[in-house]
């Protein structure tokens, strides 16, 4: 009975929010512009909803509590990287948007291809982007699976239920595009907010009297849980700073985040959105409370099970409808960012990968092509997730750190002396090869620093090196010519 109640609530939430999205979007004529970047028309509120939808994912929902449960203070990085990302968005988002509007860009690969005048670089960025997005999608799938299994009270296989939920949202994206995603975010945010308030306020008060007592009990049981280890130790302060930096810049480098920036109506909306969102993100503190409560209530979960920690508490101590609402909120937290990811990946394939080989064909059928690519990407993510999950987990760090490697290409495009496409491309390749190598030998830290930041430094160094060699070569040729003239 419990599983039936919880499941019907999850189902009602998913179907209800999609119906809401259909109604809200209404009869907007679908062009590639409208489908992928909402026709560059989103004001501050819609933009904030979209950004809140994309940044607070099922990972933040389950993973933040899971980290608080299994690691303690290192989980605070999730609190720190979001405001940092918004500062980066505030400073550079408007510049990105300005060029995108001037040259009518649709994807982040368009940006690279056009600014650096190289379709090959655009192709490289598009292929990497699709690869990272598919990997990131599998994280969301795992989140959905965990939530549906909890809502099923052990009687339902998460994979098949996850498949249904996932394809439901793909159909939704197929018809409604990014505007639909932004509107569904309204329901998602309300539900996530109430779920988080429940998990972070009601649970501590119920079991410990108040959050204050929660921390007292935590200090008794785990005295070193609330501070980071010092310096270069694993999960120490050096790791913290480097991880916050690498994850923070993701807000202007992830392809789906770039699409969200493009969707803004004007530059002021982007800035205002960056000023508003920290107030929303501060609620993540409550998710950490939920994780700490779970640690005291159901200790001993190991490995992947830590991510289920606070959901298990809810499942054992509260009635089925509470489980249903929280699981439904969590599923939306996976599906909203998931749908903007499939959309971004679909547009990369349609515009930049197919477009490189046959521009006229890609232009003529762009909307249809984008929609077909969306289906393809979703299928691809689902099949690889179902077939090879354990391999994917080790690849995930490559994706998360890899997306940050687009940073040099974006930042240096704003400078007066732009580097060449060759230097940007080789910087990207070198850092990605480095990241693949670290994943292969299972090396997440180099003297305490997150490998993502090391790769980023390598990336910038490579760009600088090639630019300098180029300049040196040019000067050599010029002086050679002068000598010959004499």
């Amino acid at each position: 009975v419990s599983s039936f109640v919880a499941f019907s609530i999850v189902g009602a939430i998913l179907l209800g929010s999609m119906a809401f999205g259909f109604l809200a979007v209404g009869k907007v004529k679908m062009s590639p512009q409208e489908l992928v970047i909402g026709n560059r028309s989103f004001g501050t509120i819609l933009l904030s909803l979209l950004f809140a939808g994309e940044t607070i994912t099922s990972f933040t929902f389950l993973g933040a509590a899971g980290w608080a449960y299994s690691r303690g203070a290192p989980a605070f990085y999730i609190l720190a990287y979001l405001p940092l990302g918004l500062i980066v968005l505030f400073l550079f988002g408007p510049l990105l948007w300005r060029r995108a509007r001037e040259f009518n860009f649709l994807t982040n690969a368009d940006y690279f291809a056009s600014i650096y005048e190289s379709r090959l670089l655009g192709l490289l960025v598009a292929i990497c982007g699709v690869f990272f997005l598919v990997l990131y999608l599998t994280v969301q799938l795992t989140g959905i699976q965990i939530l549906l299994e909890i809502a099923g009270y052990g009687s339902v296989k998460g994979i098949s239920a996850g498949a249904i939920a996932f394809f439901l949202i793909v159909i939704f994206v197929f018809f409604n595009g990014l505007r639909g995603v932004a509107w569904v975010s309204v329901i998602k945010d309300v539900l996530v907010l109430s779920a988080v308030l429940f998990a972070g306020v009601v649970i501590p008060i119920h079991f410990f009297g108040s959050p204050l007592h929660l921390f007292e009990r935590l200090r008794e049981a785990h005295p070193d849980w609330l501070t980071l280890r010092s310096g270069t130790m694993p999960n120490g302060t050096v790791w913290f700073v480097s991880t916050v930096l690498v994850n923070g810049v993701g807000i202007i480098t992830w392809p789906h985040a770039v699409a969200a920036i493009y969707s803004a109506k004007d530059e002021a909306s982007i800035r205002r959105n960056a000023m508003l969102l920290p107030f929303y993100q501060v609620i993540l503190v409550l998710v950490l409370f939920a994780g700490f409560s779970a640690l005291l209530l159901t200790p001993g979960l190991k490995g992947d099970e830590a991510d289920q920690s606070f959901m298990r508490v809810v499942q054992t101590h509260y009635s089925a409808w509470v489980v249903g609402v929280i699981a439904g909120a969590g599923c939306l937290a996976a599906l909203v960012p998931g749908s903007s990811m499939v959309l971004a990946a679909g547009s990369l394939i349609a515009k930049n990968i197919v477009g490189t080989f046959s521009q006229s064909f890609a232009q003529k059928h762009q909307t249809t092509l984008t929609r077909i690519s969306v289906l393809l990407v979703a299928m691809c993510a689902f099949v690889s997730w179902a077939a090879a999950r354990s391999t994917l987990v080790s690849m995930l760090l490559v994706a998360a750190n890899g997306a940050a490697q687009f940073l040099p290409g974006i930042l240096l495009s704003f400078s007066d002396r732009r580097p060449s496409a060759l230097s940007i491309g080789s910087g990207l390749m070198v850092s990605l090869l480095f990241l693949c190598w670290t994943a292969a030998v299972k090396l997440p830290l180099i003297s305490g620093i997150n490998v993502g930041l090391v790769a980023l430094v390598l990336n910038f160094a490579m760009v600088g090196l090639i630019t300098l060699t180029n300049q040196f070569g040019q000067r050599l040729r010029r002086s050679g010519r002068e000598l010959a003239d004499r």
Binding site: L82, F90, F215, A274, V285
Partner: protein
């Protein structure tokens, strides 16, 4: 007594602002150029939530039961909008 004209002005400004927020039919605003002051202002919370954490990595002093590190981060998340707002104000059209 507040002059009537000023009141009218203020309501108009407020209405424009809300219309802008809600993506009404207001026209898009022109871009701004951020100066050095803006970058410096935005840089303060940027460094506080990244490198600053090295100096705030303590449990004491405990405020409201929260460990100091958590209080520090919450403070800076809430202070970020203020700094960004000041940076926005410092920029000229």
């Amino acid at each position: 007594m507040v002059p009537a004209g000023l009141c009218l002005d203020k309501t108009l400004v407020l209405r424009d602002y809300v219309a802008n927020l809600m993506n009404g039919d207001s026209s898009p605003q022109p871009g701004k150029r951020l100066g050095l002051t803006a970058y410096l202002l935005a840089g303060i919370p940027f460094f506080a939530v990244s490198f600053g954490v090295c100096f705030a990595n303590r449990d004491e002093p405990v405020l409201f039961g929260f460990p100091f590190l958590l209080t520090y981060l919450i403070f800076w998340i809430c202070a970020t909008p203020l700094f960004l707002w000041l940076a926005d104000r410092s920029a000229h059209q």
